[in-house]
């Protein structure tokens, strides 16, 4: 190895060592407590989890959760609006300490960030008017179900439903909602967030869950190797579950009780 390369190599090793040392330094939780502020990424484009209210302030289930974490830690909560595409990069580049943005868990994400315990339900399901007696896919026999063409839940429903089920496939989510609200269909497949928005806007047609098609609950995302922060966040979630706080959030924003397992 030529001397110039050797020294460059040594320099790189040194840089790597410093980088390691800095991530092994004080834990994020200590930094947060010292700075008395926690920065949390939240959505502002996805009601009822996060949206801008009429007072121009962010509001929603994720925002309530973020504020709860700040309160329990005894620090100021600084909300950072993110989109679903940039929420993980914001965390990785340490622009935020936590991501509370309807984040689902999957193996690819688990390689780059850590997840807390689940704090809210998020799922695709079949919903319908209160008097519709359906509890599983087989009971859709002979019934008509609305869904958004090409959406994940429509593709799954097409596989699950019996052959005698009529699936009416609408162009987009709004058309599916309109078909349900106007009474063209009494059963539809969608996400629980969509069902909650319908329940909020037209109480007379408030949909209830018939069965779940695909479950993907929301987790709080944080950077890897932050055991203290992870433990603290999980402790706050456990406490909120025990005190009924998560149930209250679900009732307030999702218009439905927490499903079993929460």
């Amino acid at each position: 190895m030529k001397p110039a390369f050797a020294s460059l190599f040594a320099l790189m090793l040194g840089a790597a060592a410093i980088a390691n040392a800095s991530s092994a330094r004080a834990e994020a939780l200590d930094d947060i407590l010292a700075a008395k502020v926690i920065k949390i990424a939240v959505p502002t484009d996805y009601p009822p989890f996060g949206a801008i209210g009429s007072d121009m302030q962010p509001q929603g289930l994720d925002i309530d959760m973020a504020k709860l974490i700040g309160k329990e830690l005894g620090v100021k909560t600084e909300l950072v609006a993110v989109s679903s595409a940039n929420r993980i990069p914001y965390l990785q580049s340490k622009k935020v300490d936590l991501v509370i943005s309807t984040l689902g868990k999957n193996p690819d994400r688990e390689k780059v960030i850590d997840f807390s315990a689940a704090y809210a339900p998020f799922f695709m399901g079949v919903f319908g008017a209160r008097d519709v007696a359906v509890t599983k896919p087989d009971e859709l026999m002979g019934k008509t179900v609305g869904a958004t063409r090409g959406a994940l839940e429509e593709q799954e429903l097409s596989k699950l439903a019996p052959a005698s089920t009529t699936i009416k496939r609408y162009e987009d989510n709004n058309a599916t909602v309109a078909a349900y609200v106007s009474g063209q269909v009494d059963i539809f497949a969608s996400g629980n967030a969509v069902a909650a928005v319908i329940a909020d806007r037209s109480a007379a047609r408030a949909p209830t869950l018939k069965f779940v098609i695909k479950d993907s609950p929301c987790f709080i995302g944080l950077n890897k190797d932050e055991p203290k922060l992870l433990a603290k966040v999980n402790e706050i979630i456990a406490k909120a579950r025990a005190s009924g706080e998560t149930e209250r959030m679900s009732q307030a924003w999702l218009k439905a009780p927490l499903p079993p397992g929460f």
Binding site: R149, G150, Q155, E171, A179, S182, G183, Q184
Partner: protein
């Protein structure tokens, strides 16, 4: 970038396409018959009916001709159930297309009626023909002769416009293409085939309408 067309991927969906094609053809035929009937009545009412009826028809024509078809369709499908009239997507598509074609054909046929000289009507009356006989033989038949090409064009426009009924989940040709590309992501191939199907349908419809015109209204221009 070179895109490789793979029409083979459409084969598993041939039944969706076939059903879509049949739906579009049936929908067009039925609503054309009903729409032209509405147009004939509308045009007669506007030309010879009492003033209030002519006014109602004029308002109908103006409302329909100055609003988009898709809005009329949504009004029928999503709006009417609120008033207690629940239609299936096929019924809603048929009703919206009939109403739409009815308004346009009212205006087209009225143009033909107005081109009938007053003297001809008076001649009919003086031959002891009844009002209905005058309307049928002296007024309407020449009116159709004169306006048949325009009417045929409007029918084709309505047929092509029927592609938006897929928005209310009616399973027509366009729905077939939307459905296929949501499953295998072969959008180019799906829309290519469906565009070709519409083209062939339009050419066939034009030829059929020309033949029909020559038969029903000899001397019709085409």
């Amino acid at each position: 970038m070179i895109y490789k067309l793979q029409f083979v991927d459409l084969l598993p969906y041939w039944d969706v396409l076939a059903r879509g094609l049949v739906f579009t053809i049936v929908l067009t035929c039925v609503s054309t018959a009903a729409g032209v009937a509405v147009g004939t009545c509308g045009a007669s009412a506007r030309a010879f009916g009492p003033r209030w009826l002519a006014g109602v028809v004029a308002a109908y024509v103006e409302i329909i001709r100055n609003t988009p078809f898709i809005v009329q369709l949504f009004f029928v499908y999503f709006g009417l159930p609120t008033l207690g009239l629940k239609l299936t997507e096929a019924e809603a598509a048929f009703l919206a297309m009939t109403i739409n074609l009815g308004a346009y054909s009212t205006e087209i046929i009225r143009a033909g009626i107005e081109a009938t000289p007053k003297g001809l009507i008076e001649a009919g009356v003086s031959l002891a023909m009844t009002r209905m006989q005058v309307l049928r033989h002296v007024v309407l038949k020449p009116a159709f002769q004169k306006t048949w090409p325009a009417l045929a064009s409007q029918i084709i426009i309505v047929m092509l416009g029927s592609s938006v009924v897929s928005q209310i989940s009616a399973e027509d040709l366009t729905y077939a293409a939307n459905f296929i590309q949501s499953r295998n992501f072969r959008a180019f191939e799906a829309y290519f085939v469906v565009a070709l199907a519409y083209l062939l349908l339009a050419i066939t419809a034009r030829a059929l309408l020309r033949g029909l015109g020559a038969r029903l209204f000899p001397g019709a221009r085409s």
